[in-house]
């Protein structure tokens, strides 16, 4: 009996969280236009979420591309189609790996930064102080961070993809001796604007999702040290799961 009760409670809690997140999303969106009037805040946040994540994104992009090149070459060699390495790796990166891995890394680096910043502001009563002064904390603090994340994510995705393709080329052409000309020309003839558009759209959607989860968890964290820690953890977990679910839905939609 208690198991059923707990399950029902869990379900109710889950539904409540979804509802609160959606309402919070609406609240943040309504404050975004006014937050855009203060570009200094937004630039700070794009720097925070994007420029500071560049190191991890570029490094991981390079190695993901290199691994793709390695595995792709090994796999394609079994079918005698090594020349298709450029095509296969570029399509995989542009359409799937680029957006998804970038989103996961973004959630890990920028998402946790956002969540812990906001959580700490909540825990040290800064947000309450703002409300006391009749400054809307969502407009002043949350919306710029959200916009910063949304702007940074697609850019990070594109950078990841570009560096990844460079990594594939390093392994395929430099190391394994795939013909440079056929590598690039095969890639050129099979990757189209639609594929790149698909990757960028995914990057934007994941950006919105991960930024929203990060600011929601941070803003509504329990104002203790433990609460902030748990909010940060939940950010990463929820972002990862939501990213992959959205990835499936978007792929089915865009295919």
């Amino acid at each position: 009996m208690t198991v059923l009760n707990e399950f029902a409670d869990g379900l109710r809690g889950f539904l409540r969280t979804i509802g609160l997140t959606t309402l919070f999303f609406g609240r943040v969106l309504s404050q975004v236009p006014r937050a855009l009037l203060r570009p200094r805040l937004i630039i700070d946040q794009v720097h925070n979420a994007g420029a500071l994540s560049l190191v991890i994104i570029m490094t991981c992009g390079l190695f993901v591309g290199a691994v793709l090149g390695l595995q792709g070459y090994d796999l394609l060699q079994r079918f005698g189609s090594e020349d298709a390495l450029g095509t296969a790796a570029a399509l995989a990166l542009v359409k799937e790996l680029g957006p998804v891995v970038t989103a996961l890394l973004f959630a890990g680096r920028a998402g946790t930064a956002l969540a812990s910043e906001l959580g700490l502001m909540r825990a040290t009563d800064q947000i309450t102080a703002m409300e006391m002064m009749a400054v809307d904390p969502v407009r002043r603090v949350v919306a710029p961070r959200f916009v910063g994340g949304v702007i940074a994510m697609p850019l990070l995705t594109i950078i990841f993809i570009a560096i990844g393709i460079f990594g594939v080329q390093l392994v395929g052409v430099q190391q394994f001796g795939v013909d440079t000309a056929s590598f690039w020309s095969q890639m050129r003839s099979s990757v189209g604007m639609d594929d790149i558009r698909e990757g960028v759209i995914k990057g934007c959607v994941f950006g919105v999702a991960c930024s929203l989860i990060a600011v929601y968890e941070g803003f509504n964290a329990i104002p203790t040290a433990e609460g902030v820690g748990r909010a940060t953890t939940r950010t990463v977990v929820t972002s990862a799961v939501l990213t992959l679910i959205l990835d499936y839905m978007l792929t089915a939609l865009l295919l």
Partner: protein, 182 residues
Amino acid sequence: MRATRTVEISTGLFVLLGFAALFFLVTQITDRELAKNGKSYEVTAQFENVGSLKAGAAVSMAGVTVGRVDSISFDQNVYKAVVRMRINTVYDRIPKDSDASIMTSGLLGGQYIGITAGGAEEYLKQGDRIELVQDALVLENLINQLVATFSRRGEGQSNGGPDNASGNGAAQGQQQSQESKK
């Protein structure tokens, strides 16, 4: 407050890097060989059967892509498929009596239009129609022909009607074009 100038510069660099990457992807990765308006002229051809030819398929001569299929529509006056294709203006000396056939790229590849040059003095220009066409190879017709040939051989009767002869010609023409392409 952080050192704002450093923040602004690095953010600017970041956004610039993002757009540079996008630019790199779009120009180096995708294939934009045929410019849209002004550098290509339109030519049509009517087919009985276009098979699985799609808009955007290549139009090639001697294996080199000279244009793209723009659109495929059905004309209810002649009950044929009308294929509009755009050919790069660089290739302005295609004879008027050239032959357009629908060929398959490789064994399982997509279908494209292959143009074989004729011998006329006049050349194709904007709005012209290619008169000589070969339709797509329809597998069912080919199988029917094979079955009919074998059953004919088995019974020792004379060959069938006129559509068999032209059907065989189309099949042989396809095989020849594919062999010459290889």
